[in-house]
């Protein structure tokens, strides 16, 4: 799917630069030892901006929920309708969510609870973006 290009801004530049290196990083408050995503100017827990850092994730997550988009407001994606948009929860902290089109998963056949692993896709301007691919279906004992 042809996603819109991304123009990194000051707040999110480390996230996007890491993505171009095929690494997934998430903002973390070193004092609270608490991840937050989307990134913010301050830690949502302690309110400080002094100890925010970027922490590399292992790239594994679980499918938490999903919807199927049939009427998309983004012009570039409209020709691919309908498509899945899943929410995955990171292995390091299930409170941290990321969206995914789940490439390779048929429309409306998203296995909630399945394990996924990160991959990186190029967007319209070449900026890479984290995406996710199912590695085991829900209920599998493997």
């Amino acid at each position: 799917m042809a996603k819109q290009g991304v123009v990194p801004d000051d707040l999110t530049r480390p996230f996007w630069e890491a993505a171009n290196d095929e690494r997934l990083v998430i903002q973390n408050c070193a004092v609270c030892n608490r991840l937050q995503h989307p990134p913010a100017r301050r830690c949502h827990q302690c309110g400080s901006n002094a100890h925010l850092e970027w922490k590399q994730m292992c790239g594994r997550a679980t499918v938490y929920n999903y919807g199927v988009v049939h009427d998309c407001p983004i012009r570039l994606l409209q020709e691919d309708q309908p498509f899945n948009v899943a929410v995955v929860m990171l292995e390091e902290d299930p409170g941290i969510q990321m969206y995914s089109h789940l490439p390779g998963t048929p429309v409306d056949a998203v296995p909630v609870g399945a394990r996924v692993e990160v991959i990186f896709e190029a967007t319209a301007n070449g900026q890479k973006v984290p995406e996710w691919r199912v590695v085991h279906s829900a209920g599998s004992n493997r």
């Binding site: 819109q4 991304v6 929920n65 919807g67 049939h70 009427d71 998309c72 407001p73 994606l77």
Partner: protein, 440 residues
């Protein structure tokens, strides 16, 4: 006149604040609505500014006060339904000829300032207090109630207006471009429509409690049925069409499990209320409806989208704030008018309230029973956004009219209209008002 946005100190965001200090001492009296339209037809009197003047003048007349007795105006300066004035498109000359403009050429067309209103309502000669309560009427009326209670204004107009232009909702601007800023991209790259977040919560709700999408059909039918009895509403004025359960189940998906009828219709409309002190209200034309409390929900999700756990915790917390400040309990509610745009979160609001004893997971079964205006368990007698078009204020107008006994064909008959609650928009993030037919 410089108009500030309401400070956080005017809201009631916490539990443990006790009864609202102005409980029963502030009243809503007058109501004014403009006609509705799907989109602006380009005529100045139908612009968002023009319809606002109409609503304000109708509210003043309805309350039976002289315009020079009004000393306050609380409103929302943002009027977009998701439609934006195209960049570079000239302002129609007619607007400039008919109305007195401000420094902002889009004022009165694609936004609305207190200055624009005061410029064009010369009869408001004594307005000394103006304040913005952004977002929707739910916010503005809480600000007005607190302002009247605090003595910042004694006779105050509250206004919310919406504009809508040609073109599809949210299809222009950055959404039509080839690149977006990095912060926005963390959500927007995946192309989710506005209802997606609520659809996700609804999907999780259905999985957890063993419910399914089609169980929403009676709610949708009831909403449109009530909305068709609301003469101020869009569907009653322009397209008096009932939605059947079959229509609902057959509608196309927008973001499955949300379909077309799980979304509301953007329209142009304006509404105004007249708020005053309970003492002053006694002399006015309409019966006063007393404010027992207002409450703020300012919860936010940990990450991209609220989980069901976060939603349920917040709606329960909001209910405790609502009841504590009003000095009531769930059993005191004659009916509920919580927000419905999107209808798939209405059940979160009423389960949080414990309306009619509902617990989490109960509402969709409750919808299969008698939820009509003539039964003992009215659900959303206003019809809300689904029944009347997107305004986020039908439920407030309906609460006032029901408690005044002038809701017409919508008047609830299965319960005595004594105490009601309305508010929204979101389960995480909203403003709520408790209304009463008596001051105590």
């Amino acid at each position: 006149m410089s108009t500030p946005t309401a400070p956080y100190s005017m809201y009631r965001p916490k539990e443990g604040l006790g009864p609202w200090e102005h409980r029963g001492k502030v009243a809503a009296v007058g109501i004014g609505h403009s006609p509705t339209a799907r989109r602006w037809d380009g005529r100045p009197e139908h612009s968002v500014g023009g319809i606002s003047l109409m609503a304000l003048r109708r509210a003043i007349e309805d309350a039976g006060v002289a315009a020079d007795q009004i000393d306050g105006l609380v409103m929302d300066p943002v009027t977009t339904t998701g439609a934006y004035w195209p960049q570079g498109k000239p302002i129609p000359n007619d607007m400039l000829a008919v109305f007195k403009a401000t420094d902002d050429p889009l004022d009165g067309i694609a936004k609305l300032s207190a200055d624009w209103i005061l410029n064009n309502m010369p009869e408001l000669t004594n307005v000394r207090f103006t304040m913005y309560g952004p977002g929707c009427m739910s916010n503005a009326i809480c600000v007005a109630a607190q302002a009247v209670g605090d003595g910042l204004t004694h006779t105050c107009l509250v206004l919310k207006s919406w504009h809508n232009f040609a073109g599809r909702y949210y299809q222009g601007g950055a959404n039509a471009g080839n690149a977006i800023p990095g912060s926005a991209a963390l959500r927007a790259l995946w192309g989710t429509p506005a209802c997606y977040g609520t659809a996700l919560q609804f999907a999780e709700y259905c999985r957890k409690y063993g419910k399914h999408h089609d169980m929403m059909a009676p709610f949708i039918e009831n909403s449109r049925n009530n909305g068709l009895k609301f003469p101020e509403g869009y569907w009653a004025q322009h397209r008096p069409e009932q939605i059947t359960a079959e229509d609902y189940k057959a509608a196309r998906w927008i973001a499955k499990p949300a379909n077309l009828f799980d979304n509301d219709l953007p329209i142009m409309v304006s509404a105004a209320y007249l708020y005053t002190t309970a003492e002053r209200a006694r002399d006015m034309t309409q019966k006063p409806v007393y404010i027992l409390n207002h409450a703020l929900s300012d919860g936010r999700p940990r990450s991209l989208t609220p989980t069901l756990d976060e939603v349920e915790a917040e709606t329960a917390r909001t209910a405790r704030k609502i009841y504590e400040g009003a000095g009531i309990c769930a059993a005191d509610l004659s009916f509920e008018n919580m927000y419905d745009g999107f209808p798939q979160f209405h059940q979160f609001h009423i389960e949080g309230l414990g309306y009619r004893g509902l617990q989490f997971g109960d509402a969709l079964d409750f919808y299969q029973g008698d939820i009509g205006i003539h039964g003992p368990n009215p659900i959303l007698p206003s019809g809300g956004n689904i029944g009347c078009g997107r305004s986020r204020f039908w439920m407030h107008t309906d609460c006032i009219q029901q408690l005044q006994g002038r809701a017409g064909a919508r008047q609830v008959t299965g319960v005595k209209p004594e105490v009601a609650v309305s508010g929204g928009p979101m389960p995480l993030g909203g403003h709520f008002t408790v209304w009463s037919a008596t001051p105590d």
